[in-house]
């Protein structure tokens, strides 16, 4: 599904290398987790995959189902099936959440040559999906993320993911700022989307989200590189011993 090869990324504005050769291969239907200390480059990886400005790929490649991701505009990557649940979802005053969702869904359908969803069908689908994430009508009406609590913003990300039905979902610290109940809701939302043709890259700082979303593989990222990979037990190791041991071991 997603092939990342020796990806090296620097900041455009300053001469600073952030990703120093990331290799990652995610097959269809699997869930990979990336853990790592703050500042290790996890968000940068998610931004570079989704096409945010400000980063320069100095070496390496990233492909989604064989197509060169790095050569596409952000909206093309989305249409190709990539989705990023933001660590810090953006507030958009003046744009209703519903309008935002419908615009996004229809934009993707259009770029795939599909017909736009009728207003009625769209509404029905949003309502059902919002309900399972405990997103009420008011949150759908309000401007995108404006005045949302941390947890509401994250649930709103998952709602977008559920509506857009991407193939490759990247979740950047979707657990941060969530209480236990909200985390369960989010995890259920993610688990409901798990399927053979859909892969996940779950970025998290803590192990606790992975109790709810069982990963197939866990990778540890430090200083711009994946320094260790393993099964779910690796997350437990982090939980019990912190990052220091692992980092010392690979140093």
């Amino acid at each position: 599904m997603l092939e990342i090869k020796n990806l090296k990324v620097a900041l455009e504005e300053e001469d600073k290398q952030i990703l120093k050769g990331v290799d990652l291969s995610i097959e269809a239907g699997s869930v990979h987790a990336i853990m790592g200390p703050n500042g290790s480059g996890k968000s940068t990886l998610s931004y570079v995959l989704s096409g945010k400005d400000g980063y320069e790929v100095t070496e390496g490649a990233a492909a989604l189902e064989g197509a060169d991701l790095l050569d596409m505009e952000p909206e093309e990557r989305a249409a190709a099936g990539l989705f990023l649940a933001f660590q810090y979802p953006v507030e958009i005053p003046g744009v209703g959440n519903m309008t935002f969702l419908r615009t996004a869904v229809n934009a993707q359908r259009k770029s795939r040559g599909e017909e736009e969803l009728s207003a009625a069908d769209f509404l029905k689908e949003v309502r059902a999906k919002a309900k399972s994430l405990k997103i009420d009508a008011d949150m759908l009406k309000r401007p995108v993320n404006v005045g949302f609590s941390g947890g509401e913003k994250k649930r709103n990300e998952i709602l977008q993911m559920a509506m857009l039905e991407p193939k490759m979902c990247v979740l950047d610290e979707t657990d941060s700022g969530l209480d236990v109940d909200a985390m369960k809701l989010v995890a259920e939302g993610v688990n409901a989307l798990r399927s053979e043709g859909r892969s996940f890259l779950v970025i998290t700082h803590y192990q606790r989200l992975l109790d709810h979303i069982q990963p197939d593989f866990v990778h540890i990222m430090a200083d711009g590189k994946i320094v260790k990979s393993g099964g779910p037990e690796l997350a437990l190791e982090v939980e019990n011993n912190g990052y220091a041991d692992i980092l010392a071991e690979v140093a």
Binding site: K52, D53, P74, R77, F86, I92, P93, T103, S111
Partner: protein, 428 residues
């Protein structure tokens, strides 16, 4: 001295060859008084403080510059609304194209007819609010309008008026130089909605004097249309009574020069006055100026100014807004915001917000901002698959939304929103 000379020359050049229109005795007197004001003040020049950001030269020139006709393939605005249509072509009333000047709760007449009647209520309003509005800042172009106008409508609302009155200003002659003057008198407890639409003329001088009596309500929604080379200077003078409502919204598309002055005087307690505007301009020859002056002279009143401008490819926006709270006008709630969205570095927004307060128990605030499209929001939309042009349009509409929300009538607001969406899609 140089300024005085420049003013004198400008005024003389403009007035030479002009003669005052003839009408009933009261009308002749009103026009002569207005002309006296013009001569005393002199016409504005670009050296005047009040015209620091907007060059009035083409507005004071003896002749109007040509303005090509814009072929608009959109249907008439507000067509879905049942309204009384009054049509002016290049500033001249078109009886054929207009509805009958009659309606429920209302008396309407052509200005020309009112001004040739020996006795008419218009006598107490025509040029009266304009003359009051010359203090503390002079507005000579308004006085010139009062002196020279022959056409327009006078509207007296005596009850809750059934349907909105739509003044439709068509532009057919590339050289037209139109002067219109409208009066609206909202009697106590009465309510009326006035719509104004259309490009009007190559050069358009338009004045509206509005008296809102106690408990009355005046709603005003205006769209200044799309001809790229048109010029307009408009004035709205309103006197607002106790517990009454005055709400005015203007949307401006295109035009090389638009100066909209709005001068409100709140004289009765518990009154509410809102003035809002949005404009969209594309190109170095777009210049749009909102100049607002609100005087609070009563207790417990609220005024609100919300202005938003979208400027691209070197367009210029100007906002001069003042709230004057007189001594004794306690509990005044005055709010003012002016914002521009600059879609590139060549466009500019010049703002001069002012507060002058002589009462101690008031809450007044003002703010002014200029900014570009929020890059984070743009990326967020794109990451969801939205094309950048569509994303920019959506964000631009979102920026304008706060101004459009000032319109109470959702049907009218929706119509304007659709037009804006169309404009933004064509200019992305």
């Amino acid at each position: 001295m140089a300024l005085a000379k420049m003013k004198a020359d400008t005024t003389e050049a403009r007035l030479s060859g002009l003669s005052l229109p003839e009408g009933a005795a009261w009308a002749n007197a009103a026009r002569a008084d207005a002309m006296d004001r013009v001569c005393r003040m002199g016409l504005p020049t670009k050296r005047d403080e009040y015209w620091k950001y907007t060059d009035p030269t083409t507005l004071t020139a003896p002749d109007a510059a040509e303005a090509a006709l814009f072929h608009n393939d959109e249907g008439p605005l507000f067509d879905a609304v049942d309204r009384l249509k009054i049509v002016f072509v290049d500033g001249v009333f078109d009886a054929e194209a207009s509805d009958d000047l009659a309606g429920e709760g209302i008396e309407i007449a052509r200005l020309a007819d009112a001004m040739s009647a020996d006795i008419h209520w218009a006598k107490d309003l025509y040029g009266v609010l304009e003359a009051r509005g010359q203090q503390p800042v002079e507005r000579p172009l308004a006085a010139l309008n009062t002196a020279m106008a022959t056409d327009g409508v006078v509207i007296q609302a005596t009850g809750k008026v059934g349907k909105p009155i739509n003044l439709i200003y068509l532009h057919k002659d590339v050289r037209s130089d139109a002067v219109l003057h409208n009066l609206v008198k909202v009697e106590a407890g009465a309510e009326v909605t006035l719509l104004e639409t259309g490009p009007a003329a190559a050069r358009f001088s338009k004045q509206l004097e509005v008296e809102v009596a106690d408990g009355g309500a005046f709603h005003h929604v205006r769209a200044q249309g799309r001809d790229h080379e048109r010029r307009a200077v408009t004035h709205c003078f309103a006197r607002i009574g106790a517990a009454s409502t005055f709400k005015s919204f203007t949307l401006t598309f295109n035009g090389v020069l638009t100066r909209n002055e709005c001068v409100l005087e709140i004289i009765g307690d518990e009154a509410v006055a809102h003035v809002a505007g949005a404009c969209v301009g594309d190109g170095g020859d777009f210049h749009h100026d909102d100049t607002v002056f609100i005087t609070h002279d009563a207790v417990n009143c609220e005024s609100r100014q919300v202005f938003k401008k979208v400027l691209r490819n070197g367009a210029t926006g100007v906002f001069q807004g003042k709230i004057l709270v007189k001594e004794g006008a306690q509990k005044t709630d005055g709010y003012q915001i002016s914002q521009s969205l600059l879609l590139d570095e060549d466009s500019q927004f010049l703002a001069k917000p002012e507060l002058e307060i002589y009462a101690d128990d008031v809450a007044c605030s003002h703010g002014s901002t200029s900014g570009a499209i929020d890059e984070d929001a743009l990326f967020y939309l794109r990451s969801r698959g939205v094309h950048p042009d569509e994303a920019r349009t959506l964000l631009t509409l979102a920026f304008l939304a706060e101004a459009l929300e000032e319109i109470d009538n959702e049907v009218l607001a929706e119509d304007l929103r659709d037009r804006l969406e169309g404009w933004l899609a064509r200019h992305s």
